[in-house]
Each structure stands twice: as structure tokens, then as C-alpha cells.
């Protein structure tokens, strides 16, 4: 370590994977295919330099296949770099996959001991924590049943509970906030916030940029195996999103033309059964639409009569949350829509607003409608 203040130091580190289409697994294959083909290499990470200080919370962001998960595995010492160095300082726990090493025939309690010991805890250390682990998992009397009888939610709860209660100084987390129901997710999130505010070092890999923004003040953006940007989360995420949209524009030809597209449309205003006071000249309706094609049109109908096409606008929150959906092609730079209705068109009483997203062939991708009241 160059600096003892650092929890993780990555120096000129490169990692590549051997690409083998038919890997020789047996001796025969090894002999027969000896020098058969020159192995090809896939450079996953190139010349990464990174320092993470003790107590920092850092997010690794990047698109699928950018190498961020590999970087996390390298920090865990599951993989080893081809060039350069990765050094860590302090007890390290990684939550790459929850419940790794659970034995289905053993009880929850036994598995706690086994799983916690994988993280390097001794018996007495586990004894001290076991109550808080069981409490956090909220398994009640099920804790003494074999794990194979658990529902998948219970399984994940137990696994997360063990991992989070290990009390490591460095915590590496790979996309795990999809655990259990809404309630438990919030609980996990709170626990992570608590850990962040303590002296723990946290490194998170996540696609959900909202979580990143809330948990980590600092983000590191990995782009095609290179460290593209490192700094304040807000800024890095903004640049990252800009780049997604830009890359998407470049690869526009890649959008697969299909006969039928999937997508979704939402109306944010008006809400169902909302009452609108008619006191201005026009009223603005808005929402968002995302689909596999980015040439979709949003048509607006009021009480079944066609009013016109909505104007498309940028919506950062939608791009952040749903940018990866619909086959990754949903990065429509302008997912939002808005439409201003003249007040003269709205008379007091009940109305129905319907929006349709339509592809370039004029086929409806999705439609939605809401009912609302107008009052003067």
C-alpha cells in the first residue's frame, strides 16, 4: 500500500479473459487441440488506477459488460489481474451473490454459522452476532428448519442478514438491492445508509442510479474497460447518462425494426379521479412513454376525440430508472410527453383522457386512460 489511509488501491491494473469457444476440458482435447488455435483475448479492464479511502462510499457505474463487476471480483480476490496490482487494507466482505454456500439440508441457524465462517468469522464472533442476524432476517421459528423448506424471499432475507452483519471494514456489493419485498428492501437500504455513515468503506455496483445517488457521494464510471470519470456522483451520472443517449443515437441503425414493439406509457397528470380547477387559459397534461422503438408518437384523445400529438421532452428520472429496459433500446433521449389543452375544450364535468403510443407503421404499442373531473 502506498498510503495507509487507503482501503483499496488499484495500480495500473489490467485484466483480460481468454476467449475459448471450445475449451479443452479433458486431457484428450488438450493433446488433440494442442496449438490448434491461438487463443483470443478479451480485454475487460485496461490500465485502471483507483484509490478508495477508508470510510468512503463509492459506486461503480457503467453499462452491461463494461467491466465493473469484474473490477469488483478482482477487489475480492476471486479473480487476479494480468498486469498491475490490487491491494486492499482491512477485513473485506463481498456480497456478490447472496446465499453462496448455503447447504439446503442444514437449518437456517447452521447455515448462518457456515455462511458467516466463509466471511472469516470465528465461532465466538458469530455467537455474538447470531441474535441480531436472526432478528434482522425476521425468520422467527423457521430459523431451525432446513433451508430447503424456505421460500425464496426468506432465503434471500437470511443471506442478506448474514452478509450485512459480518462487520467487515470494506463491503463490496454487487446489485443486491432486489431482495425480498418492498418493506425488506427499505430495511436493507436503511442498514446500508447506516453502514455508510459509520467508518466502513463501501463499494457498490448498481444499475439503479437513484440508489447510487442516495448512497454514494462518489461515483466511478467504467466505460468499455477504461476508467472514464471519477468524481461527484451527480456530475458523473449526468455525463454517464449523456453518453448513453449519445451512444444510442450513434447506434440508431441498430434498433431492430420489428412488426410489433413492446413499450409502456404513463400519465402522470391528471391522476385518476383528480379534480381540475379551470382557472387558466390552458391546462398541461404530461407523462412518459418508453418502447423498443424511438420513433413512437404519443397521440392524445379527450373523451374519444383526437386532440393531437404530444410534444416529447427529456425526463432524467425515467432514463435513469428504465434506461436498461425493453432490450436496452429504450434509451429514447426524450421519454417524456406533454400536451397543453385549451380551456375551451374542457367543460365542467367528467372527462376521460386517453393516450396512445404508436409506432411508425401506425400500430398501437400501448394505450392508457384516466378519468378526471373539471370544476370551475
Amino acid at each position: 500500500m502506498r498510503n495507509m489511509e487507503n482501503a483499496i488501491e488499484v495500480t495500473n491494473m489490467s485484466k483480460r479473459f481468454k476467449l475459448m469457444f471450445d475449451r479443452p476440458n479433458t486431457l484428450k482435447e488438450r493433446i488433440v487441440f494442442f496449438n490448434h488455435e491461438k487463443p483470443e483475448y478479451h480485454q475487460v479492464l485496461q490500465d485502471i488506477n483507483l484509490e478508495i479511502k477508508k470510510g468512503e462510499s463509492v459506486a461503480l457505474i457503467g453499462t452491461n459488460g463494461s467491466g465493473k463487476s469484474t473490477l469488483l471480483k478482482l477487489m475480492t480476490k476471486i479473480l487476479y489481474p494480468n498486469k498491475g496490482k490490487i491491494e486492499t487494507n482491512g477485513k473485506l466482505t463481498s456480497l456478490l451473490e447472496l446465499g453462496a454456500g448455503f447447504h439446503p439440508d442444514f437449518t437456517g441457524r447452521e447455515n448462518i454459522y457456515f455462511n458467516a465462517s466463509i466471511f472469516g468469522l470465528t465461532k465466538s464472533e458469530i455467537d455474538n452476532r447470531i441474535d441480531s442476524i436472526i432478528d434482522f432476517a425476521e425468520l422467527g421459528e423457521f430459523i431451525d428448519n432446513p433451508v430447503r423448506t424456505y421460500s425464496s424471499g426468506m432465503y434471500m432475507r437470511l443471506a442478506f442478514s448474514v452478509a450485512i452483519n459480518v462487520d467487515a471494514e470494506i463491503l463490496l456489493i454487487d446489485e443486491i438491492l432486489g431482495v425480498g419485498d418492498q418493506y425488506f428492501q427499505e430495511k436493507c437500504f436503511k442498514k446500508l445508509e447506516e453502514l455508510r455513515d459509520s467508518d466502513k468503506t463501501i463499494v457498490i455496483v448498481s444499475h439503479s442510479l437513484d440508489v447510487v445517488k442516495k448512497l454514494c457521494p462518489r461515483s466511478v464510471w467504467i466505460y468499455k474497460g477504461h476508467l472514464k470519470e471519477d468524481g461527484d456522483s451527480e456530475t458523473v451520472i449526468r455525463h454517464y447518462l449523456d453518453r448513453i443517449v449519445e451512444d444510442h443515437k450513434k447506434s440508431k441503425g441498430l434498433v431492430i425494426k420489428k412488426d410489433k414493439y413492446f413499450g409502456d406509457i404513463t400519465i402522470d397528470c391528471p391522476q385518476e379521479n383528480q379534480t381540475i380547477l379551470l382557472n387558466s387559459l390552458s391546462h398541461l397534461f404530461y407523462g412518459w412513454e418508453l418502447s423498443e422503438t424511438d420513433e413512437s408518437i404519443v397521440k392524445v384523445y379527450l373523451d374519444d376525440s383526437y386532440l393531437g400529438d404530444a410534444i416529447r421532452v427529456e425526463r432524467d428520472d425515467v432514463t435513469t430508472l428504465l434506461g436498461d429496459q425493453f432490450g436496452g433500446y429504450a434509451a429514447n433521449p426524450q421519454p417524456g410527453w406533454k400536451f397543453a389543452v385549451n380551456e375551451s375544450a374542457l367543460i365542467p364535468g367528467k372527462h376521460e383522457l386517453k393516450v396512445q403510443s404508436m409506432d411508425e407503421h401506425g400500430q398501437i404499442i400501448k394505450e392508457k386512460s384516466v378519468h378526471f373531473n373539471c370544476e370551475r
Binding site: L27, I78, L79, L92, G101, D105, F114, T122, K123
Partner: protein
Amino acid sequence: MITRLKEIYSYRELLKTSIKKEIRGKYKGSFLGVLWSFINPLLMVLVYAIVFPFIMRSSMPHYLQFLITGIIPWTFFTTTLVQGVGTIKNNAGILKKVYFPREILPLSVSFSGLINFFISCIIIVIFCLFGGLGISWHLIFVPLVGFIQFLFTLGIVMALTAINAYIQDTEYIINFFINMLFYGTPILYPEAQIIDSGAPAFLIIIVKLNPFTHFMRIYRDVFLNHCIPSFSSIAYVAVVAVILVIIGYLIFRKLEKGFAEVL
């Protein structure tokens, strides 16, 4: 090396639970459970005890005890080896997801073998007591020799399990070698018999160099002959064991970095 040992020590709870899992998990679900690790060698003894006196026409006194003192240490070696060779491959799932000192896996298999062996020694003692041979204070050598055999096995297991991750034939090749070694070791027959048999000189040299010939000598001196085992035999197997552990460890260290990629 020292920091490595320290790290393994800090993971001692994992080692302990893995050993337990190894012993308990192996026969989990079967009706007789852990008992199988004792029934297996006993059945093997039974077969040889019935068949061999007729084929070999040997009228050795206490042949049954002679067999048991050979077969139980031998089972310790073979079950540990067979289980150990696959241990990296079989734990691929966990190796790819969590970090822990990888040596824990071969270590826990070997330790569970050693524990099984010590328990099985009770069977030998029972047979000696009821076979009219009795026991003597020389039994105190058993832990020492058992530990040497443990190191010996551990060295081989570390090397082979690491190689097996890359070349999966290893698992099948060793079965052949185990079989060969079985007949090259004085388990079913006394050592003197092969030396007097007029076999080619190179075969006799192989048998004499075979560490298991020396292991058998030591175990039989302790259990059957009630005398202090020959120092040269103990020294020989101890030196071989230490060399094997060092070589095995070096091979393991060299290959372990690629485990997550090749599995």
C-alpha cells in the same frame, strides 16, 4: 507463507464447519449415515477375509487382524484422495462468488479423513482385543503416524485437486493409480512374501520404496507386533510427506489464481 498460515488460522471456523460438513454431509440422507465410513472398510475386510485364505492358501495366524490393520489406513488414504481430487471442481459455485483461502477445501477433506481414521482405529483395537492379540502402550505412535499420513495425503490432494480444475481427467486417472498401488502395497500379503516370491528386482524395489509399505510396517508393528516401529521407516515417510506437502502447496498456489476462470 507465514501470513498465509495466519490467514488460514483466522478462517479456522470455516475449516471447522467444512470438516463437519465433509463428515456429516457425505452420508446425509442415507439410513445409516456416518456409520457408512466404518461399514465400508469392514465389508472390504470381510470380502478379503473370506476369499483370500482360499486363493492364497495362506495359513497366516491372525490374518483377519493383519488385513484390518492394512485396510483401514489404506481406506483413509483412498477416500481422502478420491474426495479431495474433486473438491475444487465440486465447489466451483462458491469459489466463483466468495473469497476465502482456497487451501481450506483440501485441508478440510484431509482433516475429515484423519478424524475418520482415528475413529476407525477403534475397530482395529476391538479386533485385536477379541482376536486374542491384545493391545500395548505402543498405540501412542498411532497419532504420530496418522498425522504423517495426513500430511502425505494432503500434499497429493492439494496438487491433484488444483490440476483437476484444469484437466478433469485427473479424477479418473488416479483411480487407476490407486488400484495399482493397492497391489503394490503389502496390504493383503505380508511384505516378506513378495520379496521371497522371486518377482523381478525392479518390482521389489518399487515395493520397498513405496511409502505405504513403510506405513503398513509401522501400523502393524504398533497394532500387531507390539513393538516400537522402526525409526528409519518413520523418518522415511515423514520426509516424503513433508516434501509432498511443499510441492503440493506450490502447485496449488500457482494454479489457484485461475480457479474462478477455468471452472
